[in-house]
């Protein structure tokens, strides 16, 4: 509960920051909204309509009230409510982020574990080298290489988009993989999944590098603990020692780090979606930047920040669930 209360000032501070961000834009929010069509008369008209001629604190409270109702205004590009735009694109990004995190955790934890168990062997060295190189590759360049190799050269996977153009099917949930299964059409689910593989790998590589490293370090740390030696001395099999003693303890820092990757995934999605022409919230943000659609940028950043802060809170709470020592404190 105390942890939850700490979120309030952060979110309030953030809303204040974003409120003044739009107000500091060149020409103010009215000019930002009107773009090149801004004339003094039209600016005054917009200011009156949107209440921009009222005292600042009143405007802020108004903004806060609307933000709490998830009303971020209207997109200049599409002339539809920003929230509607974000909601319609969110499933795409969520699917992408899930594939990326599954890739990163599914490969990173076993790899890190193996590296620690085979400490100072070639597997270990390879995983260390791989994780150092992994964080140095920009996600957009990696996306580029994957697309060139596996889509353009080998033709194994589709180069861009969310589904093949010949598939015209309706999407009740917006999650294409799920929609296919719900309709009893596994072929379209498979098609959607194939579209997620390359961008998922591109987006998941930096988290993979980080998770591999943290798992390796955590397992190495736990392996040298007295209780592991005791467990081995008692004659427990390696599988039991691993499951009950090593992994349970070593996975705590991995859980924290995985939670921290959510922010990285969502900002990385902006670049990945651009490379793969993937119609999610990230590529929409890029269009919004080009069109100087500040309502979209503002809403997007606020929503992402809320997600990041909430996930961090959940990770903190989850930590208490898996580690009794944290609960006691």
């Amino acid at each position: 509960m105390r942890r939850l209360a700490q979120l309030v000032p952060i979110l309030l501070g953030l809303s204040l920051l974003l409120f003044f961000w739009v107000r500091s834009l060149p020409g103010g929010p009215a000019a930002a909204l009107l773009g090149e069509r801004a004339t003094p008369e039209r600016v005054a008209q917009i200011n009156r309509i949107y209440g921009l001629d009222r005292p600042v604190w009143e405007q802020y409270l108004d903004f806060l009230g609307r933000a709490a109702r998830l009303d971020f205004g209207v997109s200049r590009m599409t002339e539809r409510p920003v929230t509607e735009e974000l909601v319609s694109r969110f499933p795409a990004t969520a699917e992408l982020a899930v594939v990326a995190i599954l890739f990163a955790v599914g490969l990173g934890v076993p790899l890190g574990y193996l590296a620690a168990r085979r400490h100072l062997t070639w597997i270990d060295n390879l995983s260390v080298a791989g994780s150092l190189i992994g964080v140095a590759i920009p996600v957009f360049f990696l996306g580029f290489l994957l697309k060139y190799l596996f889509a353009v050269q080998l033709g194994w996977l589709p180069p861009d988009g969310r589904q093949s153009p010949r598939l015209f099917v309706d999407h009740p949930t917006g999650f294409y993989v799920l929609d296919g299964l719900l309709r009893g059409d596994p072929a379209s689910s498979w098609d959607a999944l194939r579209h997620l593989i390359l961008p998922g790998i591109a987006l998941g590589t930096i988290p993979l590098a980080i998770i591999t490293r943290i798992t390796r370090a955590a397992v190495l740390d736990v392996l040298h603990k007295d209780y592991v030696r005791t467990a081995e001395a008692k004659g427990l099999t390696r599988a039991v020692v691993n499951r009950r003693h090593v992994l349970r303890n070593a996975l705590l820092p991995v859980l924290t780090v995985t939670g921290l990757q959510v922010g990285l995934l969502l900002s990385g999605a902006v670049l990945t979606e651009t490379v793969f022409a993937f119609p999610g919230v990230g590529s929409f943000l890029v269009d919004a930047i080009a069109a100087r659609d500040y309502a979209v940028i503002q809403g997007f950043i606020l929503v992402i920040a809320v997600i990041v802060v909430t996930v961090n809170l959940l990770v903190d709470l989850g930590y208490g669930l898996v580690d009794p020592r944290v609960r006691l404190r």
Binding site: L132, V135, A136, I289, I304
Partner: protein, 307 residues
């Protein structure tokens, strides 16, 4: 100690051990770095990157905006590497090698300036929080929490959009992202140092707080900041390239920038992949150099840390 005690002999024969010979942290770190192959590879990459950035006008066969191959380029055919143009030509007939080499300057300037901006501002903020403690500390740290709630690249995008399309705004945006990182790091490190026994001893001698902080606590708290600084150079180069990739960098298309070179050549993916590969590899090598060097520095400065 008697004459029969073999310890002094062993001390003389063995290479000097840190604690016994009393080597300073800096010299010990240097000794470790020199023996670390990862540090050597990192240093070579960093030196190469800096040398290329400084010597680009001498090394590059053409200027960044010269179009020696404009007659050879058609919309469907962009020639790849040849003996005359080692890395091929770009879509406007400019020499790709010359553009990549000149791009190093831009990356180095953006990386270093944004790092300095972020590290200096962040460290000052951390210094104030760490020295005063109490309410001021609390207020500053909550502000930093707010900044950290927005993922770095998104924060930079918002700031760059606010400041307008220019190189300066990219540098400020990328630098600002790092302010809370450095502030938290220095503050945390200072809090640890302030509660150390030596700080208590100095205080009990009647030394003023300012002297304690500036002469003793601060210098002892700096090593994590130095390590972070090196690692941040890598992320700053990648983030700046990311902003350029999104079209948020300077407005002069003639100035070669690795991130933008990658973005501009997306259309030629199948016909001229070299246009994306070379600037991409350049970003990776520069970032890798600083990452390797930073990791080795971390290990050298903190012997308890293991890669």
């Amino acid at each position: 100690m008697t004459a029969a005690d073999p310890a002094p002999l062993r001390q003389r024969a063995a290479p000097p051990d840190t604690e016994q010979a009393g080597i300073s942290l800096g010299r010990d770190a240097w000794r470790r770095l020199r023996r670390d192959p990862v540090a050597i590879v990192g240093a070579v990459l960093v030196l190469l990157f800096v040398a290329v950035a400084f010597l680009a006008p001498v090394l590059a066969p053409w200027g960044p905006t010269d179009t020696p191959g404009k007659d050879l380029v058609t919309p469907t055919n962009v020639p790849g590497p040849s003996t005359e143009h080692w890395l091929g030509l770009d879509n406007l007939g400019r020499d790709e090698l010359s553009r990549v080499l000149h791009g190093a300057r831009q990356s180095l300037v953006v990386g270093v300036v944004s790092l300095l901006f972020g590290a200096v501002t962040g460290s000052l903020v951390g210094l104030v929080a760490g020295s005063f403690g109490g309410r001021i500390d609390n207020l500053i740290m909550r502000l930093m929490d707010i900044m950290l709630a927005v993922p770095g690249l998104l924060f930079a995008i918002g700031l760059a959009a606010l400041l307008g399309h220019s190189l300066t705004s990219v540098m400020i945006a990328v630098g600002t992202v790092n302010v809370p990182v450095f502030a938290r790091l220095l503050r945390g490190s200072m809090l640890t140092q302030r509660s150390a026994d030596y700080a208590l001893a100095i205080t009990s001698l009647g030394v003023r707080r300012r002297t304690l902080i500036l002469r003793h606590v601060l210098p002892n708290s700096l090593s994590p900041v130095i390590v972070q600084g090196t690692l941040t150079l890598a992320t700053a180069i990648i983030d700046a390239a990311g902003l350029a990739f999104l079209g948020l960098s300077g407005t002069d298309p003639g100035v070669p920038e690795w991130g933008r070179m990658l973005a501009e050549t997306q259309r030629y993916l199948s016909s001229a992949p070299h246009l994306a590969i070379f600037p991409g590899v350049a970003i990776v090598l520069a970032a890798l150099g600083f990452t390797l060097l930073g990791e080795s520095l971390r290990e050298a400065l903190d012997p308890t840390y293991r890669r």
